[in-house]
């Protein structure tokens, strides 16, 4: 049931992939809701369908059936251009592999999605850079940054267009524990400040415990 504060609503979501032995079901009837300002961890063993679910919500892939409503817009009814528009303007994505653009420096990477969405705010980007501890590294290119710095740029890039929803796919998976903790703390602070919702895939119950609640996925179902 969608309420005024609900940001994301999933209803009976199914997804399968072709395999040699026929189609393999990855997600089987997923349904949950996420409110504005809420932070939710998505956990589960490898192959349980966590990343697939995140990709469907991000419009990076399409569900076989079911509905995904983001701020009342049904993602499953949109074409590629519609999904791309929603993604660049309302969703911020943080990948495990950082996925920065190697030919752009940190400042340009940070502002990139906001520019793409046409909502670039130089002041906000400067605040983000400051909060993320990147002010002294803005002229550097990704290859000149450490893993932790690169992930902080990726978080800044996701938050720069002030998205309604942030999706993070194991954002600390490539970082050591101390750096990962620091990066996550920053991300949670900034998400809270912007009032966005956060859905984060993680293997770590320790990290999951720092979020408002945890959804556990097993064999394609929420348990």
């Amino acid at each position: 049931m969608e309420t005024k504060t609900q940001l994301l609503t999933l209803t009976d979501l199914h997804k399968s992939y072709p395999a040699e032995t026929g189609r393999v079901a990855i997600l089987r009837g997923i349904g949950f809701a996420l409110s504005r300002g809420e932070t939710v961890a998505l956990s589960g063993e490898s192959g349980s369908g966590k990343s697939t679910l995140l990709h469907l919500i991000g419009g990076l892939d399409q569900a076989d059936s079911g509905h995904i409503l983001i701020e009342g817009t049904d993602l499953t009814g949109l074409n590629d251009a519609g999904r791309a528009h929603l993604r660049r303007s309302r969703i911020g994505v943080v990948f495990q592999q950082f996925n920065l653009i190697p030919s752009l420096n940190a400042a340009d990477n940070l502002a990139f999605q906001a520019r793409l969405a046409g909502v670039h705010d130089a002041g906000w980007c400067a605040v983000l850079a400051d909060r993320l501890g990147l002010s002294d590294h803005l002229r550097k290119y990704p290859e000149q940054l450490s893993g932790g710095q690169q992930q902080r740029v990726a978080i800044g890039r996701a938050l720069a267009p002030r998205p309604a929803l942030v999706l993070a796919d194991e954002p600390t998976g490539n970082l050591d524990e101390a750096t990962g903790d620091a990066v996550l703390a920053l991300m949670l602070d900034l998400v809270a400040e912007t009032g966005a919702g956060l859905l984060m895939v993680t293997h770590s119950s320790r990290l999951a415990a720092r979020l408002d609640r945890t959804l556990h996925l097993s064999a394609g179902k929420l348990v």
Binding site: R87, I91, V93
Partner: protein
């Protein structure tokens, strides 16, 4: 969104200038070679057109003196008064500043339309043309050299280089030939009733229009081969561009995925990529056109000299820029880029957003890709077979040639994959096993460059073999065909008979070569009568002959036909052919007749006189000891009064032919070097790009105990070995190409087939050059590897990489 996306795309080039250089250079070189050859062709064709326009007179019948080079102007006046519509021409050589020019004087009031380039802009006042000091028209490059001439010079693009045109009165003054004329052009519109020529001007004779097509055919042959070479070079260039674009796309694959993940719609991304490629194609195309102009300007003097030798008329030795050439060049650059990029763009469209980013995934493609290559090669072979069996004409021949060449190139990676697999299986010791396995893994990344090398080498071997075979055959044929030491032509039958009487006591043999122009089997043809003499029996180049062929020719029970007629009408020894006068003659032999586009029939002199008594009896071959030939030629000129151009010296013809071929070789050699350089460049760029992603593969081997220097040496050895295998594969492909050019394209284009000769020393030289190019190309990446700091190699094992 558009600007941000475009900026992100092109920012790649700012960080990777070498890749940008590779891409632009590859496309520019491909465009350069193609446009250079096209520029040469266009310039040569334009010069022919100009020559044909300004010498439109050759299309008209002419009245010329029976004896001597010129005649009195009074005859012209008499003919005009008698109602003959004729226009006077005086021609001679004019020496200016140490150079000799051909001056043609015409009467602008009676000359055929288009012959005199008197355009209002060039000569607003026609009286200026024929009122002393008059005006001289010349092509731009010729006009620039006519300093110090009292007569004003006007520039005309319509004139062939080296030709000067003036009013006939001005020409008579300049040539110091007052009241003399060289010929009268007989205009198309004549009165119905006309006084006979013999009544008004008995010292003149009517000469039929000259076709000049035999020379044009040779010229077309030369240009066709150049065009084929240009297309092959462009195909090599396309492989390079395809490789460069493919690499550029692969290196940005992760960026494309990120852009889409961040919300850039697919259609925007594809449009931006297309715009970026268009900009690059225009930039590279412009650079390529400038380079192409340079190539053309450098080669044109040799081409012009070659064609001058073949054609006799001048071809401009300097280039003039034409808008159509620029347009075609830029279009080919853009189209070439589009063709080369089509596959890469398609992969972007199909790019799965979610697959983990794997740069250079295509370079690691497995055997699936080889099957695709095999299937494509098989499809091309089927196309070639269809063209061979079902197609006719030049286009089918070129389809056959192109399909087989590309099929061979596509099969190269398959062949190398198999060979490397075999070597890996036979290898003993861990290093050797690693070397072969690693080379096999590198193959997909290098295969485009190696395919380009294969095409370049095949083109090189093919065209060189064709030109060399042509030279060997043609000079051998000249030796056979031009046996007589002198060839003389009389102005009339009466003079012919006098000439025979003059020559008989002075020469070993006087061989009549009398002929008539007619039509045979619906084709324009010449029927030649030749004497029954050992000169023919021992030397004439017969391709096929019945027993006692010459006896049958002499008796009239058989005839010989040239190869062109045989191939066009599928008539061979044992068949019969219908000749004019209701004569159905048996074919006793077929002879080669290079350079002649027309059908030709050779019969005995007696049957010729019996069946065609009206034949002109004017031409003779003269057999005489070679050292006596110049003296006899002098006697013919001085004592007998024969014009110089009626006596042809065999040695002079042969010398001219050889000179023509030497010039041809210069052009071919230059184009060969350029094509090979481009292929070498392709190897360099591929190795450089591969070097950037090789560290994860090389670092473990380094850690296990191989020095960086040793690794670099192995990289060099790998490039050398792959180049060697490609060379070995290219030799049969090149020979196949040569065979197709000689036996298929030539037959379709000109009706004669040339025998193929092999030149193994050329292959060895070419192989050495190719290996040198490969080593030079591999040297830079190998040097980079040898000097890679250990810290960089260690990064492979760190998470920070």
């Amino acid at each position: 969104m558009w600007v941000t996306g475009f900026w992100a795309l092109i920012s790649h080039w700012r960080r990777k200038p070498l890749q940008l250089l590779t891409l632009v250079t590859g496309l520019a070189l491909a465009t350069a070679l193609w446009s250079g050859v096209q520029a040469i062709n266009a310039q040569a064709r334009a010069s022919y057109d100009a020559a044909a326009r300004s010498l439109g007179e050759v299309q008209l019948p002419q009245l010329i003196a029976q004896q001597g080079d010129s005649f009195d102007q009074g005859l012209y006046i008499a003919l005009r008064r008698a109602g003959w519509q004729v226009s006077p021409v005086l021609e001679g050589r004019l020496d200016i500043a140490g150079q000799s020019y051909r001056l043609v004087g015409v009467d602008p009031l009676t000359a055929p339309e288009g012959m005199v380039p008197v355009a209002p802009a060039a000569a607003p006042d026609l009286t200026g043309f024929f009122t002393p000091p008059g005006q001289i028209f010349a092509a731009p490059e010729t006009a620039g050299k006519l300093n110090g001439l009292a007569t004003p010079v006007l520039v005309s693009d319509a004139l062939a280089p080296g030709l000067l045109l003036s009013d006939i009165g001005i020409a008579q003054t300049l040539l110091n030939q007052p009241n003399r004329l060289s010929r009268l052009l007989v205009l198309p519109d004549q009165p119905r009733v006309q006084a006979p020529l013999t009544d008004i001007a008995p010292t003149l004779q009517l000469r039929a229009p000259q076709s000049g097509s035999d020379i044009a055919a040779l010229t077309e042959s030369f240009l066709l081969n150049l065009t084929a070479f240009g297309l092959l070079s462009f195909a090599v260039g396309l492989f390079i561009v395809h490789g460069a674009i493919g690499l550029a796309f692969e290196q940005r694959r992760a960026v494309f995925r990120t852009l889409r993940a961040l919300g850039l719609p697919l259609h925007v991304l594809v449009t931006l990529i297309a715009l970026e490629l268009l900009a690059l194609a225009l930039l590279a195309g412009a650079i390529g056109m400038v380079l192409g102009y340079g190539i053309a300007a450098a080669l044109l003097p040799d081409v012009a000299a070659t064609l001058r030798g073949l054609y006799g008329a001048e071809v401009s030795g300097t280039l003039s820029l034409r808008a159509s050439w620029w347009g075609a060049g830029m279009a080919i650059a853009v189209l070439g880029t589009a063709v080369a990029a089509a596959g890469a763009i398609w992969r972007v469209i199909r790019l799965p957003l979610l697959t983990p980013a794997q740069p250079r995934a295509w370079a690691r493609a497995g055997e699936d890709r080889l099957w695709v290559l095999c299937a494509a090669a098989a499809a091309l072979c089927a196309l070639a077979l269809a063209a061979w069996l079902l197609g006719t004409g030049l286009i089918a021949a070129f389809v056959l040639l192109g399909a087989l060449l590309v099929a061979a190139a596509l099969m190269l990676p398959v062949l190398l994959h198999l060979l490397l697999g075999l070597a890996a299986g036979l290898a003993r010791g861990p290093l050797a096993q690693w070397f072969w396995a690693d080379t096999r893994q590198q193959l997909p990344g290098l295969s485009l460059a190696l395919m380009a090398l294969l095409l370049a080498l095949a083109a090189n071997i093919g065209v060189s073999t064709m030109v060399s075979s042509f030279r060997l055959t043609f000079t051998g044929w000249l030796d056979q065909r031009l046996v007589s030491e002198l060839y003389v032509t009389a102005g009339s039958d009466t003079q012919g008979s006098d000439l025979q009487a003059f020559l008989t006591p002075r020469a070993d043999a006087v061989l009549p070569i009398w002929h008539l122009r007619t039509r045979v089997a619906g084709l324009p043809a010449q029927i030649y009568g030749v004497a029954d003499h050992p000169t023919y029996r021992q030397n004439w180049p017969l391709l096929d002959a019945a027993p006692n062929a010459w006896d049958r020719v002499a008796s009239g029970s058989g005839v010989l036909i040239n190869e062109q007629l045989a191939r066009r009408q599928a008539l061979w020894v044992g068949d019969a052919i219908d000749l004019p006068g209701g004569w159905r003659a048996d074919i006793a032999g077929v002879y080669s007749d290079y350079g002649n586009p027309e059908a030709q029939v050779l019969i005995g002199i007696a049957p010729l006189l019996r069946r065609y008594p009206q034949v002109e009896k004017r031409q003779f071959g003269v057999r005489i000891a070679p050292d006596l030939a110049p003296g006899l030629a002098r006697a013919l000129r001085d004592d007998f009064g024969l014009p110089a151009d009626s006596i042809v010296d065999q040695a002079a013809i042969k010398a001219m032919s050889l000179q023509v071929f030497e010039r041809t070789f210069t052009v071919t050699a230059a184009l060969n070097v350029l094509t090979l350089s481009i292929a070498g460049f392709a190897i360099l760029t591929s190795l450089l790009t591969l070097a950037a992603i090789r560290q994860p593969q090389l670092a473990p081997v380094w850690v296990l105990g191989l020095t960086r220097r040793r690794l670099a040496m192995l990289e060099l050895a790998r490039a050398l070995m792959l180049a060697l295998l490609t060379v070995l594969a290219a030799i049969p492909v090149g020979l196949l190409l040569a065979w197709l050019l000689l036996a298929v394209v030539n037959v379709e284009a000109f009706g004669w087939r040339l025998p193929m000769y092999l030149f193994p020393w050329d292959w060895i030289r070419l192989s050495a050059l190719s290996l040198l190019a490969a080593v030079l190309a591999a040297l830079w990446p190998a040097r980079k590897l040898a000097s890679t700091p250990p810290a960089d190699l260690l990064k492979v094992f760190a998470n920070e990489r």
